[in-house]
């Protein structure tokens, strides 16, 4: 266990440093912060000064949030395994005394913590509003942030899986983005059909609703938390197995 944590934290730190050493991370951060900040002003205006509603937009009620959530993680994770495999770095990592699981989890944690940083611009908006004299519903703000991180975690896990399945970063990013778009527009399918069983099946895997129904309004429901944890774990497990499968090829 101790060995696992040691490898995990070493890889987490390295990957996070690796993310920030490239220009991509800074570009993404600037885009996200500028866009979210601009849109926050728009949300404030359309909600006619309802601060909580405007903050909720920033954390998941708007299309902009889902676009960022679906596009950013694949860009972060696309190179993590596929490129390392191509450069032979995987051979280096997988002959170091760390388990495959800690390699995958370390990379996953790095991507997710970057996304957590991206979403914290929303926290900044809440602080600003507070400074301006209107107290926001902090429970909902933190809930929204936690939900946003969980959603990104899930998308980082799928992104990592795609990266583990191919040797080309672009293919990994493309695959993950397509998957994420499917996930995001899945609820729209519900409205297209009358069949109850399809609607129910979609409701069970509806990431948007799981985020909006609880976290966004400041409720930490263990069932909904479990939904994200289980799905994320499932994709991470698949990524680990596929990393392992590389040895057999």
């Amino acid at each position: 266990m101790l060995g696992f944590l040691r490898g995990f934290s070493a890889i987490w730190r390295r990957e996070l440093a690796g993310i920030f050493m490239g220009p991509l991370a800074w570009t993404l951060l600037v885009i996200a912060i500028a866009l979210q900040g601009l849109l926050f002003l728009v949300y404030l205006k359309t909600s006619q000064g309802d601060v909580d509603l405007a903050l909720r937009f920033g954390f998941g009620e708007s299309w902009a949030f889902w676009a960022l959530a679906a596009l950013f993680p694949p860009l972060l994770t696309m190179r993590m395994i596929s490129e390392e495999s191509r450069l032979g770095l995987l051979e280096y990592l997988l002959t170091a005394p760390v388990s495959d699981a800690s390699v995958v989890l370390g990379k996953f944690a790095a991507a997710t913590s970057f996304m957590a940083l991206v979403w914290s611009s929303g926290l900044l908006h809440a602080l600003l509003v507070q400074a301006a004299g209107v107290a926001p519903d902090w429970g909902a703000v933190w809930g929204g942030w936690i939900g946003a991180v969980l959603v990104s975690g899930l998308f980082c896990a799928t992104g990592l899986l795609c990266s583990a399945l191919t040797n080309t970063p672009v293919v990994a990013a493309f695959g993950a983005i397509v998957l994420h778009i499917v996930i995001v527009i899945l609820p729209l399918l519900s409205s297209l059909t009358e069949a109850r069983w399809i609607q129910e099946a979609i409701a069970r895997v509806d990431v948007l609703d799981h985020h909006k129904a609880t976290f966004l309004v400041g409720v930490l429901d263990s069932a909904y938390l479990g939904f994200f944890v289980v799905w994320t774990a499932l994709f991470l497990y698949a990524a680990t197995r596929s990393l392992e499968a590389r040895r057999w090829r």
């Binding site: 070493a10 032979g88 002959t95 040895r247």
Partner: protein, 406 residues
């Protein structure tokens, strides 16, 4: 320290390793030698815990590479051929990352980083980005990474590939120094590297171990006969000179190397260096000497022979034939001769009747045809093939019987 038993690894339908077994004791320095694609890298990757074997077992320091992979990885320093390092890190950061993966304490990390950088002579480059290092420097940085946790076993895959001659010398010197403290396995397809550094050599070919032993033992075991080369003016009676040379104690055979200008060449096949005796004889007879040299087959010749032949049996068997038949040219380095020798060996085993046949090569060809009982189209004008009934396969027994009968 390392024990490998009938290790087999299959990639799809290709058998990269075929039941390889060997043992390496603590403190040994072993060179893995083989042509490209022989299975060197696969073996090393299995030992490093990167690839699982398809069957067979490998143990490092008593730990199974599959079941106790992590324990094995703690004890090895592995430098893959591509020298994978994070290009965006500085040399020192790369080392610190590696130390963290190995769970080294801070104090020890700092001490070891200083030591290994000194050892590979990179101390002045410690704050340079790995991606900006030249190939040779990166190789050394990779070595530093492998050395950092003071591993019991060092596994280096082609540590000198892509280096210029001077860098190669430096790496070689470094390896010699490392050999004093670690069990080292080095792979290479460049023979002088291995010969210079490793007392023990394992030659791999086509996924099998073709030879294993110290350099001298290999030469003795597989190299065949060594000989004294003598070129001198021996006068008109060559046969007498040959007989005289053959009478030297220890000479098992004298091969007439033919006339070279006014000189005549002989090869005295013998186990020990008989230059003095041959020289004394020449002086006594008044022969004007042009060359008197002691020639032993080099590891390089053996390596070439193994690389070119199909396997171990043929390689060692072909030796006798080619040395005896054509000692003038380096039998091993000329592929045609080595292969012919190998085929001859095969034929000798298959059809003992042809053992005495002097024309070995044509016999071998028609012998191969014998296995297929179909029409043989022989275009050799000296073979009498045109007069032969092409409807019947030509039996070599018939040919040699004709020669024997009269």
């Amino acid at each position: 320290m390392i024990s490998v038993q009938s290790l087999t690894r299959v990639y799809g339908s290709h058998k990269a390793l075929d039941a390889v077994s060997f043992e390496i004791q603590k403190g040994e320095v072993v060179g893995f030698l083989g042509p490209n694609g022989a299975g060197k890298t696969t073996t090393l990757r299995i030992l490093a815990g990167y690839l699982p074997p398809s069957s067979g077992t490998a143990r490092v320091a008593g730990f199974d590479v599959v079941r106790d992979s992590i324990e094995v990885r703690k004890r090895i320093g592995y430098l893959p051929e591509a020298v994978p390092l994070y290009r965006e890190l500085r040399v020192e950061e790369m080392l610190r990352f590696h130390a963290r993966l190995h769970g080294m304490e801070r104090e020890r990390t700092r001490r070891r980083i200083g030591e290994v950088l000194e050892q590979v002579q990179l101390a002045d480059r410690s704050s340079q980005l790995v991606g900006n290092l030249s190939r040779g420097l990166r190789q050394r940085a990779g070595l530093a990474v492998a050395l950092l946790p003071e591993p019991e076993v060092l596994i280096l895959d082609e540590p000198t590939s892509g280096l210029d001659p001077i860098q190669r010398l430096e790496v070689r010197a470094l390896l010699t120094e490392l050999a004093r403290r670690h069990t080292v396995i080095v792979s290479s397809h460049i023979l002088p590297e291995i010969e210079a550094v490793c007392p023990r050599v394992i030659i791999v070919a086509k996924g099998r171990i073709a030879a294993d032993g110290t350099r001298d033992a290999l030469v003795r075991q597989l190299g065949g006969a060594s000989h004294v080369r003598l070129e001198a003016v021996v006068g008109p009676d060559v046969a007498k000179a040959k007989a005289l040379l053959a009478s030297i104690a220890g000479v098992s055979q004298v091969v007439d190397g033919g006339r070279v200008g006014i000189h005549h060449g002989f090869d005295l096949v013998c186990d020990s260096d008989l230059r003095e005796d041959a020289g004394a004889l020449a002086a006594a007879r008044g022969w004007a000497l042009r060359e008197l040299s002691w020639r032993t087959p080099s590891l390089e010749q053996i390596f070439a022979r193994i690389a070119l032949s199909d396997g171990i049996g043929e390689a060692s068997g072909g030796t006798g034939g080619s040395i005896g038949g054509a000692p003038r040219t380096d039998a091993a380095t000329s592929p045609a001769v080595a292969l012919a020798g190998a085929r001859l060996e095969f034929e000798l085993r298959a059809t003992p009747a042809t053992a005495a046949a002097p024309a070995a090569a044509p016999a071998a060809i028609s012998g191969a045809a014998q296995a297929k009982p179909k029409v043989v189209y022989n275009l050799n004008p000296f073979d009498g093939g045109a007069r032969r009934d092409l409807g019947k396969p030509k039996a070599i027994d018939g040919g040699s019987a004709e020669r024997k009968e009269p």
